[in-house]
């Protein structure tokens, strides 16, 4: 194994792009950042939600966003950057309107996830961690997203796209590109990655009532129990 070329362990994760200083953060954003900081016993606990909000406003973790968080929390920009570069959901470069994830952790990979990623990548003309030139799509090779009974799984703006096939994936991308209405299999109407980030920051978008209560696989055990008349013991049967 000796003689291999040096490769940084952190590969692409890199630092925040300080050369792009554009920002849309205004007084309204600052006030929302302060609101988030006020929701916790200690303000710094709000840093992760605050960075989600920065992304929803600036489309990435921007230098101005880092300064804004540092100012509101009274910590250094280095402390904020240190956190922003640790977590994979924080983007150091602008993402697409729609952020597409393809799961390639073992089970999804084996069941077709690898092939899905190849197909999606080919169709969009970009690799993982890249954004299409028109800014419509960014692509990520994601790790297990807790939907293994719906494998292979894709995500769009962190909404579930269950039981995917290459045909379904192509249709999904075509629909999103054309601006047609798309629904998550177990979620709401697809909006945009930035709108999703705003919800993650802690500002609900009123779409919780959209979508089903559960997918078919989630209900499988319950439906088999019903068909067989199986239930948990009745409490009165106990002493």
């Amino acid at each position: 194994m000796s003689g291999h070329e040096f490769q940084s362990f952190f590969g692409e994760s890199g630092e925040v792009d300080m050369s792009d200083t554009t920002t849309s953060i205004d007084e309204a954003t600052m006030s929302e950042l302060r609101d988030l900081a006020g929701r916790y016993p200690q303000p710094r606990s709000a840093l992760l939600p605050m960075l989600h909000l920065v992304q929803s406003v600036d489309g990435r973790i921007s230098p101005a966003g880092i300064e804004a968080c540092a100012e509101v929390l009274g910590i250094t920009t280095a402390q904020v950057s240190g956190v922003a570069t640790f977590y994979t959901m924080y983007r150091r470069r602008p993402g697409g309107k729609h952020h597409v994830g393809v799961c390639t952790t073992a089970l999804c990979a084996v069941m077709g996830g690898d092939a899905l990623l190849e197909r999606v990548s080919e169709k969009l003309g970009i690799g993982p961690d890249e954004t299409t030139p028109d800014g419509t799509f960014s692509l990520e090779r994601i790790e297990c997203n807790a939907a293994c009974d719906f494998a292979p799984v894709m995500m769009v703006n962190w909404e579930f796209m269950d039981n995917m096939t290459p045909q379904k994936a192509e249709q999904l991308l075509d629909d999103l590109a054309a601006g047609r209405e798309v629904h998550s299999t177990r979620g709401a109407t697809i909006t945009s990655w930035r709108e999703a980030e705003r919800v993650l920051a802690g500002f609900p978008d009123g779409r919780a009532d959209e979508g089903p209560s559960a997918g078919r696989a989630s209900l499988l055990g319950k439906s088999i129990a019903d068909a067989n008349g199986w239930t948990a013991p009745k409490p009165e049967e106990q002493k």
Binding site: C144, A146, S213, A217, L220, A225, N228
Partner: protein, 440 residues
């Protein structure tokens, strides 16, 4: 004798708008809060202790005992933190629970918080599940509006606030001390213990951290009693739990059963391994639990049963792989996951997983050399038990168990690529182009 399946947590998942307070209350929801608030906190803790409920997030620590470790004389505020960072490969039970019935968790959190004298509780949900977070945010708001949260809950004089907190993509934050650092707005890196979180957790204050399913089991225990709970399951593994079946089975899904059901029974319910194929290997509770084979089909899926065959119950995430699957390829993908998710704090884990990936790629490509299987095990030996948290141990467990059961398949990697031995297209659910070269 209890029924084969015993839906309790999942009983209401299929009801109309099951995620709303109205639907939850219509099936008896929030009755347990009223019952618990009439008991003393110590009585609630004792009830949960008596029930025998053990942690459903992987470690299996008795829940009531964890609560009782919170020191009463510590002047700092006490905190409850619910771990909803479900990220262990194969694990997919907490997200459907929160999507379909977030109020079950809210109700459990109120009771647990009352028991440990906590007035601010948190639910830390992984960030990559937007709709789950929406449903949880709304459920908490509904609970405030209905007087189940806030001040003087149901006229009891007890106050509680719940904060819904989204993570930002880090498997390591499922580790409880890394979760606490993350919730404090820092990089999610594990802490050295002791002190344990029960004494010095969030903001160095006494903190209880429980899995979603553990806390969600509490309302049913308060409502039906500890004897009712103990009438399901086995002597040391009591109660019902959610098993998640995925992979090469005809009908994957969630099955709520008494602890101790076997994979053979679950496979029968799910229509078996996909037609024309047979079981090759499986995980009992996510990729961090050593893999098992067809010879373990009848071992009870409970804490003792899995421990007895050198594995762990873990998160009860049963990932099933049939004979078309390359063990080498699967192991590589799992270790790539651990390499990606290692927080970088401990050298054995940070560097060791990187080396494991390099070596496993050679096995996959048929370019490993004589002796590399032993080298693989040697590296594992340098990683396991030598890091702060269990991430490293999980990474090692999938490698060593794969070698233990399928050593010859690894040795085949001295000469033949895995995709020649096990053409990858055969494992997929749809037609895919066959792999002929090393992947990047």
């Amino acid at each position: 004798m209890t029924d084969t399946l015993t839906p309790v947590l999942s009983a209401n998942w299929g009801t109309e708008k099951s995620w709303t307070l109205e639907a939850y209350a219509a099936t008896g929801g929030y009755q347990a809060v009223g019952t618990a608030l009439k008991m003393t906190p110590a009585e609630v803790t004792d009830l949960v202790k008596e029930s025998g409920l053990r942690g459903r997030g992987g470690a299996g620590f008795p829940t009531g005992m964890k609560w009782s470790f919170v020191p009463k004389d510590n002047p700092n505020p006490k905190y409850l933190v619910v771990n909803a960072d479900e990220s262990e490969p194969g694990t997919c039970k907490d997200m459907p629970l929160l999507l379909a019935s977030p109020h079950t968790l809210v109700e459990g959190m109120i009771i647990a918080s009352y028991a440990i004298d906590c007035h601010t509780a948190f639910v830390y949900i992984r960030g990559e599940v937007l709709h789950v977070i929406r449903r949880m945010q709304q459920a908490v708001q509904e609970a405030y509006d209905a007087g189940y949260l806030g001040t003087n809950i149901l006229g009891s004089g007890y106050d509680l606030d719940i904060v819904v907190h989204a993570g930002a993509g880090a498997y390591i934050c499922g580790e409880e001390t890394a979760l606490l650092d993350s919730l404090e707005g820092r990089r999610g890196q594990p802490r050295l213990r002791p002190p344990f979180p029960a004494v010095a957790g969030l903001y160095a204050s006494p903190t209880v951290i429980n899995n979603v399913e553990s806390i969600s089991s509490v309302p049913a225990i308060v409502k039906n009693g500890s004897a009712w709970f103990g009438s399901m399951g086995s002597e040391k593994s009591k109660g019902m739990t959610i098993y998640s079946l995925s992979g090469h089975v005809n009908r994957p899904g969630q099955f709520e059963a008494p602890l101790g059901i076997t994979l053979r029974q679950l496979l029968q319910l799910s229509g078996g391994v996909r037609a024309g194929h047979e079981l090759k290997f499986w995980t009992p509770g996510g990729s961090s639990t050593p893999i098992l084979t067809a010879e373990h089909l009848d071992v009870p899926l409970d804490y003792e049963g899995m421990g007895g065959v050198g594995s762990m119950l873990g998160t009860k995430a049963l990932q099933v792989f049939d004979e078309t699957t390359s063990v080498v390829r699967t192991t590589l993908r799992w270790v790539e996951f651990y390499k990606h998710e290692s927080c970088g704090k401990c050298t054995p884990c940070r560097e060791g997983n990187w080396w494991l990936v390099q070596l496993l790629k050679k096995f996959e490509a048929g370019q490993a050399v004589e002796g590399d299987v032993d080298k693989l095990l040697d590296i594992c030996d340098d990683i396991g038990g030598k890091s702060f948290c269990a991430l490293a141990d999980g990474a090692v467990a999938c490698v060593t168990s794969a070698v233990r059961h399928f050593r010859s398949e690894f040795e085949a990697g001295y000469s033949t690529p895995a995709w020649e031995l096990f053409p990858y297209g055969r494992s997929a659910l749809f037609e895919v182009p066959e792999k002929t070269e090393v992947h990047a």
